[in-house]
Every structure is written in C-alpha cells, then in structure tokens.
Symmetry: D2
Subunit: 308 residues, 4 copies
C-alpha cells in the first residue's frame, strides 16, 4: 500500500469512528482529566521506514498515565535486568480491573507490570536503585524513546494524582507490608505520579510505538534504544495484559499489542509494520479509549495487522 | 464463694498455667514488644461489689493495643450514636486474621469493629468529628473508664507503630478510596496509633472489664460511665468477634466476652459477675495470649462463668 | 414469673409481631416451601420443669431443614467423638451466606457445622461410619431428642430437595475433591436431604430446644439424652454461627443461641431457662424467619434472656 | 528453509530437549495416565503445503484431554454462533489454575473456554442443543478436523475420568446452580469426559493444528473445515489462555498460540506457517508438557515463529 493510500485509509477509519465516543465516558477522578472535550480524536502511524501518517487532533496534549508502564518496564529491564524485574512482578494476565487489590490477597507478588500494583512495584524498584536520580533517569529515557526533548510533567495533573491516589497508596503500602517493595513508599509513589503525569500528544505515542514495533530501533533516527529481546518482552506483555480486563477480547478482535491510558491514548506497536498511537478521551468500562480501540480494529482489519 | 477462696483459686489457676507461655511466641513486629520477658503473667478480678483480686505481675506495664477497640467503640456510640457507628462498620464475625484485607474486597464496609479495618474506621469517625480535640476526648474517656488519671502514651511504642504500620496504612487508604472513611488518613491513623500505645497494666484491664461487666457502672466508684445498652452491645461484639479467628473456639471453651491485644493482655467482662484482666506476652497463632486464655478457661470452669 | 403470666406474655409478643411477616419473603426454591401461607406464626416455650407454653399455629407441620444441623452435630459428637468431628469441620463463624463456597477456596475445611458445607461434611461422616444404618441411626436419635416417635420424612420435599440441590452438590463434590469427605457423595447427600426433610411442628422445635437448654436432660421426661458438655458446645456454636450472616447482629440484639431453617422455624435454647421454638415462614435476606426473630427479641427483653 | 533442513532441525531440537522431562512429573490422578513412560517424546510439523515432518514417538497413543477444548470451541461457534457461545463464557485470561473455582465466586460466568469451568459450559451447550446426537456430532467434527476416521474413545480413561472427576462435578453443579448451564449435569459431564478421552497421537495433534494455522483449511486435503474468522478467534484465545497460569510467560518466551493437555500433548498452530504437535508426558506445575514447551521454544527461536 502506498503512502497516499495509507493516509486516506487512516482518515477514513478515524472519520467513521468519530462518533463512537458517545458510547463511553471521560475519566473524572481528577479535575484535569474531567474537563477535556470528549469528542477529541487522533491517530498517528509510523512505518518502519520512518514515514509518519497523522490525522485528527494529533498535537493535542494529554498526560501519559498508564501508557508509561511499558516504557518504564523497558527501562527497568535495561537498567536492572530481567531477573530483578521479574522476581518482583509476574507476567500473567489477571482478568481483573486496573486497580484491583483482589489478586494480591494470598499472592502479594503482582501478577504483571501493566496493572497498577505491578507498575508501582517496578517504579519502586527504580526509586530504590537510583534514589534521588530516579526521576532524571526516567525522564531522560522517556525523552529518548519518545524522540521528544521537551517532555515535561503536567504539574496540575501531578498534584491532583498525588492528592487523590488513595487506592494506589493502599496498593503500595500493601506491597511494602509484604516486602515486595522496599524503601520510602511515599517517594516511590511520588515517582509513579510523576511518571504518569508526563505531557504528551498522539504523535509522541506513535513514536514510542514505532520503537517497540521496529524491535527496539527508532525508525526515524535509526538509533537502537531498546534491545530486540526487551522490545519483544514488552510487546508480548502488552498483548496479554495491556488492556486490563478487556485484554482477551482485544486480542481476539484486534490482535495488536496495546497499552491504554486513562487520559484516552493507546500505544500500539505492530512488529515490523507500524508504530501506532491513537487518542480519544471517552473510555469504556475497563478504562480503554472507545474511539482508539475502534480505530485500531479498523486498521487491523484493513491492513491485516492481526498477529494471531 | 468468699473472698479468700477466690484469691486462692486465682492463684492456683495462674500457677498451673504459668508454663504454657512456652507454647506461644512474643510479638516481634516492633522492638518495644519484642524485648518483653515471655514468662511474665498476671490476673486480676474485680467483683460487682468492687472487691479486687490480683495475682502475678499485675503492675507490669504494657501497651493496650487492640484492647482499646471495645473502649473506643463504646466512646463512639456514646458520642455519635449507634446509627453513625454501625452505618460505617458491621457487627459480623469474619473468621479471618486481625489485619485481613480479604473480606474488604467487594465488601468495603469492615465486618466488625474488632478487626483492624473496622477499628480504624471507628477511630477515623472520632477524628472526623472531634478534629483537633480527638485525642483529648479519647484520652479523657479512657481515664474515666480505666479509673486511671495518669494514663499516658508509651512514646517509643507510638513512634514504632507509626513507622512500621504498612498494613494498617494499606487498610486505611483502601477505606478512604471506598469512602468508608473521610478526611486526612494520616491524622486518623495517628489517632489510632496513639490509642493503641496507651500504657496500662493488668489492674487497668480489670477495671475497664468491671465497668462492662457491671452493665456500665464502675463497681468501685458506683459511677455510671456507659449506658446499659452500650455495655451489652460491646460485650456481645467481643464474644463473637473479640478473639479474631479463634473467637468461635474461645466461645465454646470459655464462653466469656473477651478482647485480646498483641501485647499479651485480654480484657474479659463477665456480666453481673466479674471484670477480669489477664496478661502474658506469649501469643498463639491468632495473636491471643496463651497464658491469658488458659487462665480464663480455668476461671470459667471453676466459677461457672460460661455464658452460653 | 408464674405460669399464667408467661402464657399471656407469649401471646402478647406473638400478637404484636404477627404483621412483621410482610417484611420478608417465603422461600421459593422448591414448590413445597413456596406454597405455604406467609402469615402463619407460632411460638412454644418449655421451662426447665417441663411446663409447656404454646401459642399460634404451633401444630402446623413443616420441614426441619437447617434446624437439623445442631441435632446432627450432637449425634456425631456422641457417636464419633469431638476429635473426629472437629478434625473435619471448624467452629469459626464466617460472615457469609448459608451456601457460600467462598471461604472454601484456599481453605477447604468448612468453617463451621451450621453452614451447608460444614453440615454436609458432618452428615457424610455419619454416612461413612454407619453406612446403610445411617438413616436409622439418625432418625432414632431425632425421635428421642424431639420426644416424637412419629417423626417422618416429607417425601415431596425430600424429592424436591434431591432434584434442585445443585449448590449442595457442588459443595459436596468440592469437599470430596479436597478429601474432606470420603465415600459415595450421592449417598451422603441423600442422607443430608432426608435429614432436612423431616416433618416437624413448633412444639417439636421447643422440645429439642428444651433438651439443649436443660444441659442435655429432657425436662419433660427427665432423661439425659446429650452430655452436659456436648449441649454446651452445640449452644455455643449456635450463638456464634447459627443465624448465618446475621449471627453477629442477632447475638447483640437477642443474645440467645439459635438455629434457623429455611422453612421458617428457629430453634433457640436458653441455658437453664427455656427451650424455645418459633415459627413464621417469611424470611429475611439471610434466610431467617422475620416473625421468629422478632418474637425471640421480645422474649429476650421481657424475660431478660440475653446471655451476653 | 527446505524440507530436509526442517527435518533435521526438528530432530536436533527434540534431541536437545529429551532429558528435560526430568524437571517435570507425569499426571497421576488416574491410573491410565500414571503408568505412561515419562521419557516418551515426539514432535510433528505440517507446513501450509501439507508437507509433514515427524520425529520421535509420534505414533504413540494418548488421550486428548484439554487439547479437545479449542476443537469443541470451534464446533460450538460453527453450530450455535458466536453470540450463544460468548454469552455463556468469556474470553479473558484468569491467571489461575486449570480447575480453579476461585474466579467463579461472585462471577459465575466462566472467564474463558480453556479452563475447565468454561470448557464444561461449552460442552454442556452442545449437549443441551444436540441432546442424544451430541456425541456423534462432536465425534464427526473431530474426525474431520483431525483427518482421522478411526478416532475412538479410550474406554479405560473415560471410566476413570468419570469416577474421579469430583472437582469437575463441583464446577458443573456450581454452573448449573447459577443458571450458566442447563439440563442434566451428569449428561453434560458424560459428554465432557468422552471428549477428553479421545485417543490420539502426535501426528493427530499436528493435523488439527495445521487446520487452525491454515486459517481453517486442511493443508493436506485442501478442504475448508472452519471459517477464517473462527480459526482466528480460537488461535487468539489459545494464545492468551491456552497454557493456564503460564499463558503469559509462554506468550513472552514462545509467542505461539498453544493448548496443552494433561496427557502431555500441546497443540500449537502458527498462522500461515505450521501446524505443530508436540508430546512428552512429564508436566510442569501448571500442567504443561516440559519437553513440549521446550521444543516449541526452540522452534520459535530457530524458525522465527514468535507472533508478538
């Protein structure tokens, strides 16, 4: 398919699904998320030659939220090794909500790094090792992998997260009590809230997706950022665990590794084909962007991206 | 049974059970609890005429810990009413450990006020209502019901509790997330740690037991401190829920309302008969004093105190 | 209180609570239970001298259902000993519904003999030991303890139970899979369905209650049927576990050991005071007779029967 | 890679992993499974042109067990439609063991058709619809999809399964109680035991794998047996749920849809590439063939079969 055709396909698919935002609801647990216009929508694709296709509100800024989880996972494996990471967090899907404490009871090791408990455990591992340098280490890696030197925290969101994070605090202290995490819980949580509050747009998502899709090499710069193996690990975990308690049905219908965030973005790398970023703030019951999932489904069907 | 006979009976029963401390283990989660001599033992009884019988290390000081729960429950009902209290916390036993988060999943209202989650919810209710005056309100009531004007916090234990309370923090933030408690979680927890760190002896336990046993009237001073109904509610909850996941077997074997604390005391009021306090720091797997339970069993058999 | 006064008190309390049946619902899982008139009501008391007080529809026949549980428990301890029984079933309340499978997960030993899983485990113990003689052994004991030589099975209810008992089958096979019960599951279940289908009236309930209340001696015949200790064990378990997930609140409000059945009866022995049987087929959400509980509450208040 | 090279690669990989059977254990819950030699091993591959590669004990016969689940799932969707099937059973992985009842509590709809509860629900759906014709319908479909007209039940295993299936009975009656399945539970279970007792060899597994891999068309006969869409659904569910509580780690390490059986086989279709069957009766803790998983991992690496 040539460049022009992909552009027009992307346009058509986004257009066709614009109204599906009405089937979902914008996240409302913090004011900053609540006030967004529900009908915003964007899709960006980057192919393995570095060509970029962007439609809709692709430069609209939002916070990265849970889309930070696969990136932090990659960073933790790079810096501390597979063993340290997977001693602390499993890789099995749970069939549960993103913030579930359920599975931790009687089994305190978090099931996987895509649910909050697991992501907090990984972020704490970074904090425990890099101490005061943690946020800089994290931010520098994000800048590289997003190809965006201006990446910054949204201070308003960061402060809101910090105040309203009762469930995440409960999870973190539970992990501390079970010796899954060490050190000062509040410092680990602070790093986690910062990581979730990074301000990005849909192009940024597509950039990081393209690195994962291209087996760790940025297709635009040609630079290797992540090893082939780590990129594969992260894509695999995204496929089985990335869409929370809709991971299974998403694997059937779309068949693309994906990680959603509560701000409405979805990061979706298709191995050797495309880095995809989609955005639409209206969410389904599991916390995944309705428009985003529909666009990915359309692309999977039209471009034959289903991996299974 | 005359006074002399009760004294000698109490002596004999304590003597006979002194060595049973070897079957348990002293609590070790904070240094202050860990360093106690495991073979300390005491028993104090107060009858409804105010006569006091005391044997063993009855003046040895320890912290009140979970024995504060029935007292704070009484205070909360007195100050805020049955409805406010039992809207927030149930009265059903759980068959679970003292610090379980298990039953809260899918049912965030704590099952009863004798487990940590329920006790924290009650203490938070006091904090939410009395704000800065909370601790004074609580301390004044404790002084009255213990008949002890010198009641004070053990600062070392208080600080240790505050630092090591990861599980309680996890429970408290879980309750906050589910809107069971309101306000500043750390302030509610601080009040809870203070309440648990009050320094008492076995005579103190017997004093408060005697108030509950005498249907709310202090048998020594003749003063009504708690209404008849509230004393009955608290005794009943102690019988079904006071000994954690040994409440059922304790009801069979001993049949006396009781509340144990991790420091080794047990508060045990026998309606219209005796206020009993027992002490022995060595605990069974459920966190109840081994010597204390044995002494209560002996007394129940010899003095026919089984209520069921 | 003299005989006449008790009669009139019983009359008044039943009268006052007759209409409360409207707050509940008749059990409907089998046709035989469903077709009963919801406003039937009865109360019978027997004092320790063998005096009988009966009001309302006391001779109306219904099936014993879960009220058989404490009787079978007594029989099992008599025949096979405390150790055999309590190796198989615990004595801790669960805070769960009568037919819960929840607590069995990860802890296959049933929490107590008043929930279905525990009762099935006890009945299976009898079946495993008495084989073909099981039902005769059970029936003979029931005849003795009920003082009723004509005790029979309601064949229609028995057949209905057998057909519709999917949950009980699920529980029983779960217990078998975990080696809690042995032998042919269907034979144990058959014995359980028979035991639940015995046809009784409110006078019968009061008779068996009076035996438990009089510490094992039938107050009418003067015959010892159950040992003092076993009677105490059974009363204690009834108090902490007899009213399912309302056991705790019933202990507070009424303070009498009690076991309810889905047919609307409640068996309630008050130690050294009265054997009580109450009946009213309309049930609360936990499966306890609404009229029955109210009558017991009234009696507890007026006759000072609260044991805690 | 030419034919000769694939043959020798397959030989090498099997050889290299032969001894890994020592890390696992043969299933022992029924005698027929227990008596197998633990060091048996086989691997068969069929490419999309119908070429067959077979090494080791490929004609050794064993029972299909859980490898029947994806085949029955395909049959049920073909006969009764996606809606009927997925109204009854979800598609989300659970992170739990194959016979878990855990997730059913509070959520009686089975999470997916690869765990026992879900598979029983699907088989019961066939039984409810095809009644006495159920087994014939099922057997005929299996004969077609396995390309094996002589497919038969192993009567000894079938009878053993029927007798020892306490957990499956417990699951099935639980599903009946919650109205997930209808009809006669024993008849549905009988069909399930028959389906699990079909006698196959490793070549048979590779045959059915090749149909799923070739998007529903038998690569040997050229016949379409399953629609493209249904083949994709089944492959996707196998990837997220097929290896029980090792599904997530298997997706990372191997990245091939797979379904294991307790007899030691694994059915593994690689879309557009190969139908793979592997066999080795020694199992890991999750019930998956140790040799089988290792062979699949080797093939995935050498032939670049990782789909994620």
């Amino acid at each position: 398919m040539d460049k022009k055709n992909i552009s027009s396909l992307l346009n058509n698919i986004l257009d066709k699904n614009l109204n599906s935002y009405k089937k979902g609801k914008v996240a409302s647990y913090i004011p900053a998320l609540k006030k967004v216009k529900p009908n915003l929508a964007a899709a960006v694709m980057i192919d393995m030659s570095g060509e970029v296709y962007k439609v809709g509100d692709w430069s609209y800024k939002f916070t990265i939220q849970s889309m930070s989880k696969p990136v932090v996972l990659a960073l933790a494996i790079i810096e501390l090794g597979e063993e340290a990471v997977f001693n602390r967090v499993g890789v099995e899907p749970t069939g549960e909500e993103f913030n579930s404490i359920n599975k931790l009871v009687g089994h305190p090791k978090p099931f996987n790094p895509m649910i909050n408990a697991g992501a907090i455990a990984i972020t704490s591992l970074l904090r425990e090792n890099f101490k005061k340098e943690s946020f800089n280490t994290l931010l520098n890696f994000f800048k590289k992998v997003f190809g965006n030197k201006n990446l910054k925290i949204d201070e308003e969101v960061y402060k809101s997260e910090k105040i309203t994070a009762d469930r995440n605090r409960s999870l973190a202290y539970f992990l501390k009590d079970h010796r899954i995490i060490q050190g000062d819980v509040e410092k680990s949580l602070d790093l986690y809230f910062k990581q979730c509050s990074l301000k990005i747009d849909t192009l940024d998502i597509a950039r990081v997706s393209s690195v994962f899709a291209n087996r760790g090499i940025d297709p635009i710069t040609g630079e290797r950022i992540i090893s082939k193996k780590i990129a594969s690990i992260v894509r695999s975990i995204m496929l089985t665990c990335g869409m929370y308690d809709r991971s299974g049905s998403f694997a059937i219908e779309v068949g693309i590794p994906a990680k959603s965030g509560v701000s409405g973005g979805i990061l979706a790398p298709v191995k050797n084909r495309f880095g995809i970023g989609v955005f639409g703030p209206s969410l389904d019951n599991s916390g995944n962007s309705v428009v985003g999932m529909n666009v990915l489904k359309g692309l999977s069907e039209e471009l034959n991206l289903h991996s299974l």
